[in-house]
Amino acid sequence: MTQTRDPHTVNSQIPVGLWVPAVAALGLILLPVIGLIVRAPWPRFVELVTSESARAALELSLRTAAISTLLCVVLGGPLAVVLARGSLPGLRLLRSVVLLPLVLPPVVGGLALLYLLGISGFAGYALDVAFGVRLPFTTTAVVLAQTFVAMPFLVVALEGALRTAGQRYEAVAASLGAPPWTVFRRITVPLVLPGLGSGMVLSFARCLGEFGATIAFAGSLQGVTRTLPLEVYLQREVDVDGAIALSLVLVIVAILVIAVARPRSVEGVG
């Protein structure tokens, strides 16, 4: 939705006192990125971001973030439907539980995952005994950690879209003879597609930037669990130029994500 502004319209006045902190806030967001660009080792940029470790990290990051986002949709999508449409007692409590990964420090989330699915955790022990599967310090662990932290973004965006869409179209579809699953497929899903899209973009971005939960639960093994943020952190110790170059790659990917998908909830339109 784009608003065309009529130059004759007099907008309500913004108090002058708000401009200063507003500009400061914008500066706080923008200036560090500009600093990064200014400080970037441009002559060596291509060489730095195509090094073997950098390429492995980038590839791993994109792969795990994509799988995690998909997991968020497959698991979080139905959860959003239950939260938005269900009438169970305790649904409000459930809604707050979903927000937990959003407010929890990611490292704590990673530790929690480790003590559930690690060898000493009860679920991890059971998995090991029953199937010989050990999750920690594998790529699967990276995906789980990312899904854990990104899930609320998808659920919240989708639940909001479902509430906005309301149930009246669904009632009409049912009156036309459509059973619940058909209504869901042909009416509910298409109506919330924009909300789903913005939820996916936000989740993907969150997955890509994941650091704390990943390092706690999956560690940092090149090509297996060392995602781009982990690589940046590691490089910072040995080669600052390399860290900055990789950071810029993350900035570019983030900008691309926002520009291509333009998450509606971020623009305040959704």
Partner: protein, 381 residues
Amino acid sequence: MSPGLDIELVVRRGSFELDATVQVGQGEVLAVLGRNGSGKSTLLAAIAGQLRPDTGRIVLGGRVLTDTARRVLLPPHRRRIGLLAQEPLLFPHLSVLDNVAFGPRVSGSRRQQARAAALRHLTDVDAVEFAQRRPAQLSGGQAQRIALARALASDPELLLLDEPLSAVDVELAPALRSLLQSVLQDRLAVVVTHQVIDALMLADRVVVLDGGRVVEQGPTREVLTRPRSAFAARLAGLNLVSGTATEDGLRADDGRELTGMTESTVPGARAVAVFPPAAVAVYTDPPKGSPRNVISGRAAALEPNGTLVRVRGEAGLAADITPVAAVELGLHTGAAVWFVVKAAEVAIYPTHVFPEQSDWTTGGRPDRPATGALPAANADG
């Protein structure tokens, strides 16, 4: 079991209780009238299967849709009941054609068949030229036509219309009303409406709900020409006074005596006196001579009513006089007025069915809820 619709239900919601028994015969259209909060929407929701009554049974064409005693509650998609609400609610992501084809599609038709059926139904409502459009590209009236075609395309046994014309532009409503009239011919339908013209044009029979109870039901013409409830009288634009029948008239509940043409009333039994506002003469001085029906009070409001001026008395009665007469009388709000109505204009008949009928009431503005506490939404028809 009748081939029509049989409803008998009780729904409690907090302090509100809907307790209604309603029958609709085969091929009949029933209008449900009542102010906001009278239980109309609850009744519709129960029929559509969106609401489980506390107790009750709903049978459509011999099929039990709801039966609380036997724990039957058929889901909405298996009821074969079409809905047409105030808003068209066309699915925004589908073309007009696919909206109308939705019903046939989900009931198993192939795409081509469903689209062919949709085109036929679009032709029936004179909207075939919009087939390829998106709902967002339609006007309200066009969209409502298409919503009707969509409801009909699913071949419903019963059509529920919830104030289908109240969101349509005033200029477009008559054409749509005529369309509904021809579509509803020989169809089983329930129409909720605030407008007397909808009831007259569309419905064979009328049910008046008030506070969750059926206060009046009968053939449309009968109910609207000889109302027995305050609400039906208001809807029909008639003055209604309820009280007790006397030898040659009626003693109103506030003690006033009215003389009129009594029709099979029994002295001492409950009755209503009904007369049109146009039969009421207005004086600003006590009338000379000894006319029999004089009601004094103050002019509570003066409102334009077509080419006439409606004078509302304090007691809720109304008189229609010409603007010239209003000016000559020097009428203003709060002026002392005497309403005079000839005995020959007052019809007095029993209210046998509903003895609890209340106060003095008046015609006009049937689309307004009578009490201020009710939600104003949709009230304007």
